[in-house]
């Protein structure tokens, strides 16, 4: 069991390519932290630096109380699970799970105990005599996890371990890994490019872009209060809708104006907007698909926060429908209840929940806090 601390970590490749920069993170003992971001954002590089498979150019890495920058991977007390769930094709499941321990010259009795215990946890005890080719994808993934579990490491490092599985199995294995974490109570650092995986698995998620941490917070916090335009667009499916326009003040009323969009901003947000200095400037307004409503109640509550649109595509998800449209040249998706009759070509009015819209500085792309107190706190 161990805490993992990354202090001002940087990774620079030859040619001065900066893959990771100024990475600061404190992972608590037994915490499940997920690194998420688009490909090339540095998440795997960071994980591999923790593993010791990549050198650290700058900064300090601690596992437990020990600085491990110069410690060989095998001496860091970690276990890794990778995307391709590599197994030895000529060995049985038992031999696959035991092999890493045999390499470490562990006594046979201890190896046997650990393998059987891990097999029990993963529900693969009945597969121990099979070879990998006789296993399904999900079973192989369990064996790969088993190979890591038997080591009883301080920290598990997982690099997109579910990417090779089909969608249904992935959903199932997400839950399995979470259950496993609760059972073995070990620190887990998990890398994925899939924001749904990040949201559903992590105690905290670390959103990365271009080698830099964009936000570290609980999944709900990241979803509800993204710190910038990137995080807002990356987290959430369907993604947040953005409208590029400007905030204009007229007769004491602040309005967001963009082509085909004219929305009244709630007065409660004026102080924070003024303090951020974005009134009269270019901004991006973001609204989640579920915060756009066609109920009469909303339409009448927010008469000055309505967009009028032409329905282009309707995706029926059963319990709800996704309405796709283009407003002022910008693509937009709304999630509305399935009871409404929407069809391509029809006109629709949607009211935005203005208390939930996000406003981002047009230049810096940083979020403008909802309230002054937050604005002060964030400085």
């Amino acid at each position: 069991m161990a805490r993992v601390q990354l202090v001002k970590i940087a990774k620079r490749y030859s040619g001065d390519v900066l893959a990771v920069n100024d990475f600061n993170l404190d992972v608590a003992d037994k915490e499940f932290v997920v690194f998420v971001g688009p490909s090339g954002c540095g998440k795997t590089t960071t994980l591999r630096m923790i593993a010791g498979l990549e050198d650290i150019t700058e900064g300090d890495l601690f596992i437990g109380e020990r600085r491990v920058n110069d410690v060989a991977p095998k001496d860091r007390d970690i276990a890794m699970v990778f995307q391709n769930y590599a197994l030895y094709p000529h060995m049985t499941v038992y031999q696959n799970m035991a092999f890493g321990l045999k390499l470490r010259k562990m006594p046979k009795v201890e190896i046997d105990k650990r393998v059987r215990d891990a097999a029990q946890i993963l529900d693969i005890a009945h597969l121990l005599d099979r070879k990998p080719k006789a296993l399904s994808g999900g079973q192989r993934q369990r064996v790969a996890l088993g190979r890591a579990i038997v080591r009883e490491p301080k920290v598990f490092l997982m690099d997109e371990p579910l990417s090779n599985l089909d969608a249904k199995l992935r959903v199932q294995m997400r839950a399995e890994i979470r259950k496993l974490h609760q059972r073995i109570q070990t620190t887990v650092i998990y890398v994925t490019h899939d924001q749904t995986e990040a949201m559903t698995m992590g105690d905290r998620i670390v959103v990365m872009k271009d080698g830099i941490i964009q936000q570290v917070a609980t999944p709900q916090e990241v979803y509800s209060n993204p710190t910038n335009l990137f995080v807002a667009g990356f987290i959430g499916s369907p993604a947040m809708n953005f409208f590029r326009g400007e905030l204009a003040e007229d007769g004491g009323v602040v309005r967001f104006r963009a082509p085909e969009v004219n929305l009244r901003i709630p007065e409660g947000r004026y102080p924070a907007l003024r303090q951020a200095g974005v009134v009269g400037k270019s901004v991006v307004l973001g609204v989640r698909p579920e915060d756009m409503h066609n109920d009469e109640v909303f339409l009448s509550t927010y008469p000055e926060a309505i967009v009028d649109l032409n329905v282009e595509v309707v995706e029926n998800m059963g319990s709800e429908i996704y309405v796709h449209s283009t407003v002022g040249g910008q693509n937009m998706v709304a999630r509305v209840a399935a009871r409404y009759d929407m069809h391509p070509g029809s006109r629709a009015k949607l009211a935005l929940d203005m208390n939930k819209v996000h406003i981002f500085d047009g230049e810096t792309e940083a979020v403008v806090p909802h309230h002054v107190a937050e604005a002060v706190a964030s400085r």
């Binding site: 390519v17 688009p38 591999r48 593993a51 010791g52 498979l53 990549e54 050198d55 110069d70 410690v71 060989a72 991977p73 095998k74 001496d75 276990a79 890794m80 699970v81 990778f82 391709n84 769930y85 590599a86 197994l87 030895y88 094709p89 000529h90 060995m91 092999f99 890493g100 390499l103 190979r147 890591a148 872009k209 990137f230 667009g233 990356f234 953005f242 590029r244 991006v284 693509n331």
Partner: protein
Amino acid sequence: MNRDWWHEPLHYWSQALGFHYRIRHISTGSELGPFAVGTWWQQGDQWCIALDTDHFACLSGLVDDTRLRDALSWTLLQAAGQTEKQNKDLWAAKVCERCGQWGQQSVPDLVHLLSNPDGLRAAWQGQTATSLVGARLEGRLVWLHWSWRESSGEELATADEPLRTVVEAYQPHTWLGPVDTSAGIRSALLWWPPVIDLMDLQQQLSELLGVVEEDAMVFAQASAGQSAEDVSDWPQALLTTVLAWHQRSWLDSSPRVWCWGQRPVLQLFQALPTSVWQSFLDGALQDSQTDCGDWPEEWRITLHGILAANLNVSEAARLLYLHRNTLLNRIERIRERTGYDIRRFEDAAVLWLVSAITRQMEIETGRTAVAHQ
């Protein structure tokens, strides 16, 4: 240098092929030679092979087969190359000569490999013997590299053992031998059995690297060359293994497995002399206001994003997590400065080639390639 270095390979060969040999001295004033090691000539019904400037071997009972003679030359050169640098160079030159012009970048590695591992020699001899008795042992060479982080008091030799154990556990009987270490990098040559196709090979090697990382806990990469059907294919197999390894430097992305034949465009680049690269850059950048070496990083990212999105700007914006208008601005700036509109396939392809060639020239010549305007 051990003057009798040739006895072992000759003995091995004579056992395998059933010929007899006699070592002769080239007397002063003789019309013979000087010959390079491994050179063949005929005296009556006997074939003779040069061993050094003073000695040659006469072989009686050797089947008149060019392939066999080539194979024996190879073995002798390999043996000689372990003791004499001049012969190492000769060895590499022979491989290069067989396989055409592939640029100088791979030559030092070839020399290194050819002169280095006992395993390669043993495998070569084993292959040759197998081939000579009529069996076919197909496969390809794999060059496995791994980074090495020394723990206190640990010897390099012992550090190789877990890795070898892992490799042999994944694919038995593949390990040919380690290659000298340099600057924290270790490598070894493997002999990989036949695969269905390159995808299969890629998959197997990726899995191998996975278990190497998980169990030996080292960062590893691998290249695989062209498949060999018998000993006469070995020079090509070896050369292409090295060339595949050097393809890493052509791309921004860094896959960990490089299989010869997977990236034909890079093969084409590697076959072209540097003068042709420079000529291409001169033409491609003649109207550009910015040398490729001075491109902002965001241009390269933009270019790769557009290509990854099949030139679809909206899709590229999504992939790059940019607003479409921001991406359009970047594309316009690139067009203004270079004259190329990367929304067009031909223009995007030219800039991709410029980017790749410039990068390679920087690596090979240590200088920034610029257009000669």
